[in-house]
Subunit: 392 residues, 2 copies
């Protein structure tokens, strides 16, 4: 697998960090997840629980090992100090400064392993006036400008449904770690990486940011309409609605052909895209008068045949019943030790030679503590002692 032989020390919890380390674990890295004795990652207790298992936790922690360690205890810190030199990468999502306070700042990490790669996933960055603020997905969505672009024109600024600032920060963390690993292969040097929820969201502002920079004009929220193209959006059919995106004049022509609405071509209100933007509602009405006559299925088959990008708005049931999603194995069933088959998301990155794999289910809390301590050379008696003290 792409990351076979890479060992990651995972000090993260909740979602941004665990998503980052799950990307690496899915690609074959050995990820050692450190959890608080007794409690563990809070996500173990979140979302729908079946047979004592959070399927949300199971999704983001497959392919990992779990070691309990009380990092407030001297014994816990000692073990961490022995573990770090065995690891290529340390990933954490503490608030900036906490690792230093714990005695594991960048200099300390480097002293333990000179070519260590350290990745901090944080809310706002490791410097600046908001460095110490508590972070949360919703807040990063609000403060990044993303929400100012999301939602309908008459809606308030709208958060995205999924926690995308956590997820995109996790992806940026994994990108940083992989790039640093590559550099280490070639130079022998480690590095220290910081990615924040807020900057990760700013990184998605795309053409809206570019246009704002160039013009000084604030982009509006446009809901499902396109900012500069019409017709475009959701159109009603006989049995639902279809998303249609004829994004340029050539596609618009194909769209009219597919609709058999060549008559619109000569309509004075709909000549150029600029006219159609001005008369967005009336061209939508003219098109829907036609699309309502047939089913969504009919239109999707027909419009795709004409080369017009379109598709149904699917809910999660439709998505995971969809033959394309099945073909792409975007839901996988992973057997768990208690006999449960836990369904979880599949792998969006497909390698032909070295595919991502679900090699192991998410571990129970501390499942690998003793194995990892033994690998560090601790004798059984010491392990029992640490256990008795609650340090592991």
């Amino acid at each position: 697998m792409p990351l076979s032989g890479i060992r990651v020390l995972d000090l993260t919890r909740i979602i941004s960090g665990p998503y980052c380390t799950s990307i690496l674990a899915d690609m074959g890295a050995e990820v050692i997840k450190i959890e608080t004795p007794g409690e563990g990652d809070p996500v173990r207790h979140q979302g729908v629980i079946k047979n004592g298992l959070s399927w949300y936790f199971a999704n983001y922690n497959r392919n990992k090992r779990s070691v309990t360690l009380d990092l407030y205890s001297q014994e816990g810190k000692d073990i961490l100090r022995r573990l770090i030199p065995k690891c290529d990468v340390v990933i954490e999502n503490y608030r900036p400064g906490i690792m230093d306070k714990m005695g594991f700042g960048d200099d300390a990490l480097k002293a333990l392993r000179p070519d260590i790669i350290h990745c901090s996933i944080n809310g706002f960055g490791t410097s600046g006036p908001y460095r110490d603020r508590p972070a949360f997905d919703f807040i990063a969505q609000a403060m990044s400008g993303f929400m100012s672009l999301n939602g309908g024109e008459s809606d308030p600024p709208m958060r995205a449904g999924p926690p995308i600032s956590d997820l995109v920060a996790g992806m940026n963390g994994a990108l940083g770690v992989l790039a640093a690993l590559l550099r280490r292969e070639r130079t022998g040097r480690g590095d220290s990486i910081s990615v924040s929820l807020m900057s990760s969201m700013i990184g998605l502002l795309s053409f809206q940011a570019a246009n704002y920079f160039a013009s000084g004009e604030l982009p509006p929220r446009t809901g499902n309409d396109h900012g500069i193209v019409a017709p475009y959006g959701l159109f009603e059919t006989a049995d639902g609605q279809v998303a249609i995106a004829p994004s340029n004049d050539a596609m618009y022509e194909k769209f009219l052909d597919a609709l058999e609405l060549q008559s619109l071509r000569s309509h004075p209100d709909f000549q150029a895209n600029a006219d159609r933007m001005l008369n967005r509602e009336s061209i939508k009405a003219a098109i829907e008068a036609r699309t309502r006559q047939e089913s969504s299925r009919y239109w999707i088959e027909r419009l795709n045949r004409y080369g017009v990008p379109c598709g149904q708005v699917l809910n999660l049931r439709d998505v995971f019943d969809d033959p394309q999603v099945a073909d792409q194995e975007m839901a996988i069933d992973v057997p768990h030790p208690d006999g449960q088959q836990v369904r979880m998301l599949g792998f969006p990155i497909k390698f032909a030679e070295s595919p991502c794999l679900a090699r192991a289910p998410a571990p129970s809390l501390g499942a690998d503590t003793e194995d990892v301590l033994r690998e560090l050379g601790l004798p059984e008696s010491r392990i029992q002692e640490l256990r008795a003290k609650g340090a592991v």
Copy 2:
């Protein structure tokens, strides 16, 4: 830089692919962007244009070289065939099958360079019933289930403002390429990678997918409310609104302290989170009666001091005027040959030792054609011949 010495042949256009290759270019890879003679990447003509330059194009194509090549001509294909062995990675966002038709399928690429890494960024995957459909960000958002989770309860399913399926697919492509490069360092073997817009969006379905898998129940759209926590969301202040996310009971207690609304603690309707969910509107009203008495600035300072995650909903002007965003250098000014300072998005991944850099502005169309042809060993006379034929 992390990717110094890595050469990427970039056959992509529009945004998913150019974003992928810009991530690699920002980290130091040499990216050779192949464009159609005369036209180039359509994004050159999109968004706000200043002094003949699309700032949208400038953002996603900084740090790249531009070579014009007519890939429909025999001469163009010959040059591509000479270029591939010099490149570590080939990235393209054609529809699946087009590379094969052009004579550059996986086997052909491997014959030209046995350890080549090929990355296809596509709409739906390289197999399955929708493989050949035209793809578009809006359609991937609709078909992935993402839109079914985005928007308010009474809204229709809502597309995210920025083209996030393009962007997240680009990030997945870069993750795949970096992992494959690492594997190549260790094994000497290349790989072929596919990432799709649709699967990339499905990969973001997060706890909503996990809960659906576990329960069979479809998650609702909740707008700015949290699905299972109250109070939470946007709250009005004397001069605007603030996003507040007290995500658990401990934070809720801190929130009441910060508001000096300890009286709510004994209110029978607001005891447990479950009660507060049932009375979401009335607790929101009680809190807003208080938050409306002071400014947003006041509340943000105070709530953060109490450890309650909160922040303003910023529009793009606010964002790029924000001191934290300035500290994190999330807008950078890149000098262009015509004297323009082009403002663009900064780098969300911060490396301490080997930072991402804007080494060069986006190239004018074909700016590097002759240099690259010379590097391939073509004599001047042949270059002029190709130019005359329109092959470059």
